[in-house]
């Protein structure tokens, strides 16, 4: 027993050291983002800023158009939530209806999991271009609007809804859409929370599609905006780190609040 105790302390120490290594780049990001520009070039570098300034954050919104990028990112995330509704609807149909071609269609859904993004990026650009959706926020959101994984996730959960409940509603004269909206979705809140958090994270972090689809600065998202900060002639570390913080901090807050849901979602992705 004593042996297990000592081992525990040993394991804990190693893990804590690893956790520090994991957290350090984020602390460095915050610290650098608060430094004045000259100090960020200091060698040896200072771990904590000697003078604290919010100049870089202000510059993001005044010299650069990060206000615009932020709004665009939020719009892309919101369109993602429409996609989530579509996926919930499809998951419900696969879970609770018997219809001709159901199994074939569900296999079709699952088979799309195997298609890598690199194969689809050029044709998707061509398809969106042919319907004039390149360089629009809708075009940025469309390629990732629906994912087979989320449909699968919703279906798994919705199979557990009792049939009697739906039959009773049908006998009461409720239409199918009404049943979906006022019975199925409220019951599915736990899985919608998982899906919602994942949808937010995907939309917020999405990089490749905005990079490909947005040509005009007006349509850049945060991720494309901060990747441009690395291409300026003179590197401005506090500005880069302020941009990174703007992207990372909201996600970390969402993560800390909804950690349980995210872990649950990722777990189901792997093992069911």
């Amino acid at each position: 027993m004593v042996r297990r105790r000592t081992n525990g302390v040993l394991v804990g120490t190693f893990l804590a050291a690893g956790a520090l290594l994991t957290a350090f780049p984020f602390l460095w990001m915050l610290s650098t983002s608060l430094k004045p520009l000259p100090e960020s070039y200091n060698y040896p570098p200072s771990v904590l800023p000697t003078t604290i300034t919010l100049d870089s954050y202000v510059a993001l919104f005044t010299h650069f158009e990060f206000g615009r990028y932020l709004v665009n990112t939020i719009v892309v995330v919101l369109i993602g939530f429409v996609g989530m509704f579509l996926m919930a609807m499809a998951g419900y149909a696969f879970a609770k209806f018997r219809f001709r071609g159901k199994n074939a269609l569900f296999m079709l859904v699952l088979s799309t999991l195997m298609v890598p993004i690199q194969v689809t990026m050029i044709p998707t650009y061509l398809i969106l271009n042919s319907v004039k959706l390149t360089d629009t926020l809708l075009g940025i959101a469309l390629p990732t609007l629906v994912s087979a994984f989320n449909i699968f996730l919703f279906r798994q959960f919705m199979t557990t809804i009792p049939d009697e409940l739906l039959e009773a509603a049908r006998l009461d004269g409720a239409g199918e859409l009404r049943i979906l909206l006022s019975i199925v979705l409220p019951i599915s809140k736990p899985i919608l929370a998982v899906g919602g958090v994942l949808t937010f994270v995907t939309g917020w972090n999405s990089f490749l599609w905005p990079l490909i689809i947005a040509n005009d600065q007006q349509n850049y998202t945060l991720s494309v905006g901060i990747s441009l900060l690395n291409k300026q002639l003179a590197i401005n570390p506090p500005l880069q780190m302020a941009g990174a913080s703007l992207m990372v901090v909201p996600i970390v807050i969402v993560f800390v609040i909804f950690q349980r849901y995210i872990v649950q979602g990722f777990t189901m992705s792997g093992l069911r």
Partner: protein, 312 residues
């Protein structure tokens, strides 16, 4: 009077039920259709478009005027296999896979076993630290690491100089840059795999360990005789997804090095992106993407087959 009125009203209600705009028979199709159309357009249809486009000469001028587009047979594939940059990108991707997959799998498995060692609040709090990189934007992470790697004012070289070691050209030396870029991806990718492993570990009934302890099995022995065999599926799953992930490696080299120095960190995905969207050689890039798809499909199928042989 009211009773008759009620009786008279009853039948129309059933009529409205039958005339609902979405009959139950059609409802499932209506529910599935929007999601399915999106999904199929951007995956199945996409592959066909890529396959067809790869046999043409579509470029930026063809995009403006489709009448200029012509079928040129396998010309793009010939050009592709004759391009040394393609082989270099393929080699780089192989390098990333061979370096990244084992480190990622063994590393995150060890972290998960460590995190599962105790249920105390300390261990639960530590978990969060390991998970956070998995959900933060790769672009932001790449930028942070680019800063740490910086050769003039970067923190890493300063720390090395404290230990009396010379400055390392993290992102400017072709060989070292490969490792630097991969390290960022490993650091980031380990979070998700740790979550998956931890969930699998927690599903192992504690009685197994109790029985083993009674039989006198030491902790190391328990890991090798109980934990690892029971984790076979999770290990398999993480290996496959890690493999696919590394074959699609893109964001880190794009932000950190733009594929340089001299193509040293250009992965297949980055190569396809550059051909397609920097040089607007859509048809040529489509050919490259079809080749990458074929490689991923073959490797994944081989993995699945090996598992089938492993435990039927």
């Amino acid at each position: 009077m009211t009773a008759t009125a009620a009786r008279r009203e009853a039948p129309p209600r059933r009529v409205t039920l039958r005339r609902t705009w979405l009959p139950s028979r059609l409802a499932p199709y209506a529910f599935v259709a929007p999601a399915l159309v999106c999904l199929v357009t951007f995956s199945v249809v996409s592959i066909f478009v890529a396959a067809v486009v790869s046999l043409t000469n579509l470029d930026i001028s063809g995009l403006a005027d489709f009448s200029q587009v012509r079928f040129i047979g396998l010309g793009n594939y010939q050009a592709l296999f004759g391009d040394p940059a393609f082989w270099e990108a393929l080699g780089n991707t192989a390098f990333f896979v061979i370096l990244g997959v084992p480190i990622l799998v063994i590393g995150s498995l060890s972290i998960a076993i460590g995190l599962n060692y105790s249920r105390s609040w300390v261990f639960r709090a530590l978990r969060t630290f390991y998970f956070v990189p998995a959900i933060t934007a790769i672009v932001a992470i790449s930028l942070i690491w680019g800063n740490l790697y910086n050769s003039q004012f970067g923190l890493l070289n300063w720390l090395l100089s404290l230990a009396g070691l010379g400055p390392v050209p993290w992102l400017t030396d072709p060989t070292i840059a490969k490792f630097s870029v991969a390290l960022v991806a490993i650091w980031r990718g380990s979070g998700l795999d740790t979550i998956i492993f931890l969930a699998a570990l927690q599903a192992i009934p504690p009685e197994y360990y109790e029985a083993a302890a009674i039989d006198g099995a030491r902790e190391w022995r328990q890991i090798f005789s109980i934990t690892l065999p029971l984790m076979r599926f999770a290990i398999f799953f993480v290996t496959v997804t890690a493999l696919i992930g590394w074959m699609q490696f893109f964001d880190e080299p794009y932000v950190l090095t733009q594929g340089g120095p001299v193509h040293a960190t250009t992965s297949m995905s980055l190569y396809i992106y550059q051909q397609g969207f920097r040089y607007n050689a859509f048809a040529f890039a489509s050919a490259a993407s079809i080749v990458l798809f074929a490689i991923i499909a073959v490797v994944t199928a081989a993995q699945l087959r090996s598992r089938r042989g492993d435990d039927g």
